[in-house]
Symmetry: C2
Subunit: 426 residues, 2 copies
């Protein structure tokens, strides 16, 4: 039997919510109930209301005896059921967190979130160690941006990618029906994974279907990621080349596209844009980037004395991260990530972050499409410091040129999003 | 046997596409194949590419012998498979339409679209009669706006309403999780039905659940329709009242909201906004209205020397009309509307528009929720002139005050959208 401490457990959900973050919450609760609670080491299983913000005020929801039916319903509910926060705790804030943990005899601390959340977890753990308070801290991954180090992918991403793929499939059909230039602005401040998922919308694409010859014909025909410096002139030339040939053009753009100096294109365009506690300029919840790109295209492509082309921009906004029709793999993996964190605590680990790995990543063995081999993922403990406050970007092999993704990316992402509808094509 | 003419049939899809407009296309094809084609009166079943625009150029897709599997797949494909157009034919244009119909021996003309399309149908029919050319013209209803006279509702609306309800359910949960002021801008230039469907997102609402006491607690708490004059000061006071009490506020706004003089609030705000052939200012495909309302709220609610509240706006855009997860009732009704139009032609009718009726509308007998009675709809022929170029608005009994819908509206719309997910609530 490992050396285990006795006391209460607390679970928080931090940062932007996802459609499956409650699966992870329920996973931790289930893992604790069948493990440390059953063994008598954990008395109460407490949910922090609005994450560390509620924790410092002693505001909890008690899950110790919640009926399994309620837990299952909660798991299928999108967005953070406990409430979330954008607070980024500094040292003084972390002191208050630790103080509250001591007051409520919290000995197991679980935090579901992205790279900022894993950093909070790391700092709190270090301060607990420094003050000789035995509290074990575990981070459970969550982010639609898919930008956590050490992870093949993160819970939340597959479902958001599914939304993006479905939306782009439908929107491409719309754009064929009433031709014009259509821009879809997609979430992802620093990492382009979610914008890249727009490529899954291409049904008649040699990336997806080896029987299709030549270049993709389906949209989006142009994909702009934050990892590739955005040059306005090159962008306009790309659009013009396709529009002049086809009379239409379908474009996916990350909200986080930057120029060569790293300045976000969107940030400079948003009047009165807000800056959050992390120093990030507001990118979502505004149509400014899409509208500005539309204006640039109209200015460039309107013939002298003629009519401007039909240009439209939709910014997918918050619904892409909480859309209820989630990826089945995402639901399972989010749940199991939470259960795995509780198991680490049961095994006597003192801290760590859960990472999702895909055995055989890099080979194509796992790609069901090609040889019928099922998709398989597994969970590992990694150091908090390996994930904390770091950002993973799209690897080079996922990017093709300055406006596309590679077949490798499609093979990586396709198994994650669940079945996509089959459309007929005229 | 009615007096029937012999020749070819042509089918077009006009105006904004929907997620089920191909169901109607396939419905007409099926109805013709088992009717007038089987009886030998119709030789070829032709689809007009991009509606009357392709018709005048003699551009067709031949559906006479298309395999049923292809038709079924087409039916489940969102957006107009034949391509659409925004052309609004004038008299000279209609002359060219008629000329092309004569050239291709088209004797049965089917047009799937909204009120402008039924008007085209009416004019073409009148010109055919005037020139002694026996061509029978039928209009099949389609519009996400739900603004056709004579119809209980129109194909395309239930699926778009389903999208709006799902999006608002998820977005309300997001707004609870990270509180702030959230605006959702929803399609509907003149009619508020689609914006009103946001009310279906309220799960804990006495409109939906008689066991819930008092006022709705779920969002959207405020709903602004084009039928009710929009007053900026009243809007800001509404938002402030809810925000000051709850620390958050969820708002649904129609893109078509107008001031007391009938001037659209959005139109004045969109820089370089485009005007289409119908004289309509571009409202969709831009985030301008949402961003402008956000700015107004920030200006009003920022305390002197303090931080502005968190305000976000998402404009649902084109994905709401072509989202692939459609309402089952909508799919069936769109298909049957097309089949019914073909049946009218088989019966010897010379023209007409198909209208969906709901027996017992006005009573609550049809509301499955209350007494288990199944939802029933039926199809009738109405005069083209009763639908053509007219707009149906939200009836008074569907509107409550200046910022809400009534229980009657919820009872009307709920059976149409299909099952909605059950969310747990904290």
């Amino acid at each position: 039997m490992p050396d285990l401490v006795r006391g209460n457990a607390a679970i928080g959900q931090s940062g932007g919510p996802t459609a499956v973050i409650n699966q992870s919450l329920v996973g931790v609760v289930e893992g604790l109930r069948s493990g440390l609670h059953a063994s008598g080491h954990v008395s109460k299983i407490l949910g922090m209301k609005h994450a560390v913000r509620g924790l410092t005020k002693g505001e909890f929801h008690d899950y110790t005896d919640t009926h399994q039916d309620v837990l299952d319903r909660l798991a299928f509910t999108p967005s953070a059921g406990l409430g979330s926060t954008r607070d980024k705790p500094d040292r003084a804030y972390c002191e208050r967190i630790l103080e509250s943990c001591k007051k409520h005899d919290i000995r197991y601390f679980f935090y579901i979130g992205g790279n900022d959340s894993s950093d909070t977890c790391r700092i709190v753990r270090e301060m607990a160690v420094a003050s000789n308070y035995d509290m074990r801290c575990f981070h459970v991954p969550k982010t639609v941006d898919n930008d956590l180090m050490e992870n093949d992918h993160t819970p939340g991403f597959p479902s958001a990618a599914r939304f993006v793929a479905m939306a782009c499939m439908a929107d491409f059909m719309d754009n064929i029906s009433l031709p014009g230039i259509k821009i879809n602005v997609i979430m992802g401040r620093h990492a382009g994974f979610l914008t890249a998922a727009s490529a899954l919308a291409r049904r008649f694409d040699r990336h997806l279907n080896p029987h299709v010859q030549g270049e993709s014909t389906d949209g989006p025909q142009l994909i702009y990621l934050p990892e590739v410096p955005f040059e306005t002139d090159r962008f306009l030339a790309d659009v013009e080349a396709i529009y002049s040939k086809k009379g239409r053009c379908h474009i996916a753009v990350s909200e986080g596209i930057c120029d060569a100096s790293g300045t976000p294109i969107g940030a400079t365009l948003i009047k009165g844009g807000q800056v959050d506690a992390h120093g990030n300029v507001q990118l979502s919840g505004s149509g400014a980037l899409g509208d500005q790109l539309s204006d640039l295209i109209k200015a460039k492509l309107t013939p002298a004395g003629g009519k401007p082309p039909r240009v439209r921009a939709d910014t997918f906004g918050y619904i892409q991260r909480c859309w209820p029709d989630t990826s089945p793999i995402d639901r399972l993996e989010a749940r199991r990530s939470g259960q795995f964190a509780a198991r680490l605590a049961m095994q006597g680990d003192l801290d760590g972050s859960v990472a999702i790995k895909r055995p055989g990543s890099g080979s194509r063995l796992w790609l069901g499409m090609d040889n019928g081999a099922p998709y398989v993922s597994e969970y590992q403990r990694v150091e908090l410091s390996a994930v904390a406050a770091k950002t993973r970007h799209m690897p080079k092999e996922f990017i093709q040129g300055h406006n596309n993704v590679s077949r490798e990316f499609v093979e990586y992402a396709l198994p994650l999003v669940g079945s996509l509808p089959t459309f007929e094509r005229m």
